[in-house]
């Protein structure tokens, strides 16, 4: 039998049935210095190989290197072929690491990108960092109101959100990380020096603490502190690079959430000013208003309304308007008009004069946009309601009588804000109990759609529908009108829609005589 394996470049050992080495090639001898014919396997090779069963591949270390031992059986015993797999193992370990990190970064990106909410982003960052990068993690944002927003996640995976009055100067590198300047890699700090709000109870002895900046969109978003227990290994260079990749994603998400929150709060403040008032009664007159801005994204559009209650027994003023244009520009003009009208209330007994003065005020601006309005001065008169109605370039209101008759009003006037002089004609109407005066913007009548897709809802159809609405309370009436127009428009483009119903109560029992809840 030719022992070709004796010259093989891999270490090969032949072992007989008693466990004694019967042959060892050169490669085997240079790897395992004691391996020689006649030596018991136990004395010459590491334990894992000595105990290996001849039916399966065994693995283990020889010195620094990792080997696989492949057995083949020949007549004289077992041949163990030893293969150095250190490099292969290192590569596949690196690949596994890389895959794990890629998967983690993908998960992190997914979670971080899904929310524009600051608290959520901080929580997700702390949780992911604690789970994948350390035993515990703390996200800290730049100071806000003398406190630092913090999200801490411990080994149990629970995230705590706090606002802490702490001094980041206690933690080396934290101030710089929060400032985002000067730029620096992750900063190692002495675990023993970590203050209690970092090294929290339940963590045990800390092995390493690292501070990393969370870079935002051009501005520092905050800092990430990773904490590892002493029993765990410290951070390798590869992990540090990886931590920075994670920090970049988290920082971008937190920064976007901050910008979004800022925008949202600015919009909210502006909108609060611009949102129409809510009320149901003006000195014994029932009233309901509904407003739906066009476009899916706008909260405020070009339509608006306002209520200016008068003293008891006096006239109240209801205004419905439609500013030409859309978006923020229209909203700002709306605000200006509402303020001006408020200032002009003392002349509200003369609609024409009020409109002329408003026109003069608006003419001082750019003069490339306008507003159309309906003014309704409302006064309770016994069981009836007296109305003075003036349109300034706007669709005239409609009266829905309790008995089912629907009447158009006869008021007409010039739009406001573009012509030197404006004129108007006022109509006077009396509502009996159960009668309603309906004010609406053209978003209702010009809703385009219907079953055939491209027809206007139209004034005629509105009047017909209103005939079915006699005697409805004003909320029901306004909802009905808006619903009909919205459904007519279907999913198509919808203009702003505003509707106001002013109703003479059937049963004159003012709200003040009753308590809504006992």
């Amino acid at each position: 039998m030719t022992r070709t394996w004796l010259s093989a470049p891999w270490p090969v050992l032949q072992v007989d049935a008693e466990g004694i080495i019967s042959q060892a090639n050169d490669a085997a001898r240079s790897l395992l210095t004691g391996a020689a014919p006649g030596v018991p396997l136990d004395d010459a090779v590491p334990h894992w190989l000595a105990r290996a069963a001849p039916g399966a591949v065994a693995r283990g270390r020889v010195g620094e290197s990792l080997f696989e031992a492949h057995p083949t059986v020949d007549g004289a015993g077992v041949l163990w072929w030893l293969m150095d797999v250190t490099e292969r193992e290192r590569v596949s370990e690196a690949l596994r690491d890389e895959r794990r990190r890629t998967a983690f970064l993908a998960e992190a990106s997914n979670e971080l990108l899904s929310s524009l909410n600051l608290d959520r982003c901080m929580e997700v960052t702390a949780r992911l960092a604690a789970r994948h990068l350390a035993d515990a993690a703390l996200v800290i944002l730049p100071e806000s109101g003398h406190r630092y927003p913090v999200a801490y996640c411990g080994p149990d995976g629970r995230v705590v959100r706090e606002n802490l009055a702490v001094d980041p100067g206690q933690v080396p590198g934290l101030e710089e990380a929060l400032r985002g300047f000067p730029p620096m890699p992750s900063r190692w700090i002495d675990p023993a020096a970590a203050p209690g709000w970092l090294a929290r109870e339940g963590l045990g002895e800390l092995g390493s603490v690292v501070v990393t900046a969370l870079p935002g969109h051009g501005v520092p978003a905050g800092a990430l502190v990773l904490l590892r227990r002493a029993v765990h290994a410290g951070f390798s260079a590869g992990e540090e690079v990886f931590t920075r990749l994670f920090a970049a994603r988290a920082g971008a998400a937190i920064s976007a959430a901050c910008l979004y929150a800022e925008q949202a709060s600015i919009t909210e403040v502006l909108m609060r000013e611009l949102l129409p008032p809510r009320t149901r009664r003006l000195d014994g007159v029932e009233l309901a208003a509904r407003y739906r801005p066009s476009g899916a994204t706008a909260l405020v559009g070009g339509d608006f309304y306002d209520l200016h209650p008068g003293a008891p027994g006096e006239e109240s003023l209801v205004v419905l308007g439609d500013v030409c244009g859309k978006g923020l520009e229209a909203a700002v003009l709306t605000g200006k008009i509402r303020d001006t009208l408020h200032a002009l209330l003392p002349v509200a007994d003369d609609h024409q004069r009020l409109l002329s003065m408003l026109n003069q005020v608006l003419l001082t601006g750019e003069r490339n946009t306008f507003v159309t309005l309906v003014l309704a001065s409302v006064r309770r008169d016994g069981p009836r309601v007296r109305l003075r109605l003036t349109s300034a370039g706007h669709a005239p209101p409609v009266i829905v009588r309790a008995g089912g008759r629907v009447e158009e009003t006869h008021t007409k006037g010039t739009l406001i804000g573009m012509l030197e002089a404006v004129t108007s004609v006022t109509d006077t109407v009396t509502l009996d109990p159960g009668d309603t005066c309906l004010l609406f913007t053209d978003g209702i009548t010009e809703a385009r759609g219907g079953p055939l897709g491209d027809e206007l809802f139209g004034e005629q159809q509105l009047l017909e529908e209103l005939e079915q609405c006699a005697g409805m309370p004003p909320e029901a009436l306004t909802e009905r009108v808006q619903m009909l127009a919205s459904e007519w428009a279907g999913g198509g483009d919808q203009d702003d829609m505003a509707v106001i119903a002013i109703t003479a109560p059937v049963e004159p029992r003012p709200a003040s005589e009753r308590s809504p809840a006992r």
Binding site: G302, D322, C324, G325, K326, R367, N368, T369, F370, T372, R384, R388, A392, G393, H394, A395, P396, I399, E407, E408, T409, H410, T411, K412, G413, T414, L415, M418, L419, V422, T423, S424, V425, T426, D427, T428, V429, T430, L431, D432, D435, D442, E446, R448, D454, G492, D493, D495
Partner: protein, 123 residues
């Protein structure tokens, strides 16, 4: 849904220029008409600007605002504005907003059955 706006500017001999307005005049397109008309108003010795509205589809409040600005700029340039071949929809809008006479020189029709502030209706 909306018809795109197309504008065709044609010299009409002498001191007149016509702009053929086709499609919808709305928030998205009003600026184009304003720009085209303003360019024409810069022409030397122009006396008449004709906007041919025969092909005009919808005209919303932004469209009306554009017409009013063009009217003002025309006035400042000493040019007479003509809104030719107006359809019923445009006339209704101009009438409702009290701008018919201002934009066209035609007197507005009386508002409904005109009532003054003293006229009392209802019960």
């Amino acid at each position: 849904m909306a018809d795109p706006l197309t504008l065709t500017t044609t010299p009409r001999g002498g001191h007149a220029v016509g702009i053929d307005v086709r499609g919808d005049l709305d928030h998205a397109t009003a600026g184009e008409l304003l720009e085209a008309a303003t360019a024409v108003l810069g022409t030397a010795a122009l006396r008449d600007l004709h906007l041919d509205c025969a092909g005009l589809g919808l005209c919303d409040s932004s469209g009306l605002a554009a017409l009013l600005v063009i009217r003002r700029r025309a006035g400042e340039a000493g040019v007479r504005l003509h809104l030719d071949h107006r359809g019923a929809g445009l006339d209704r809008l101009l009438d409702l907003t009290g701008t018919l006479e201002h934009l066209t020189g035609d007197p507005a029709p009386p508002p409904g059955r005109t009532r003054d502030a003293e006229g009392v209706r209802g019960a």
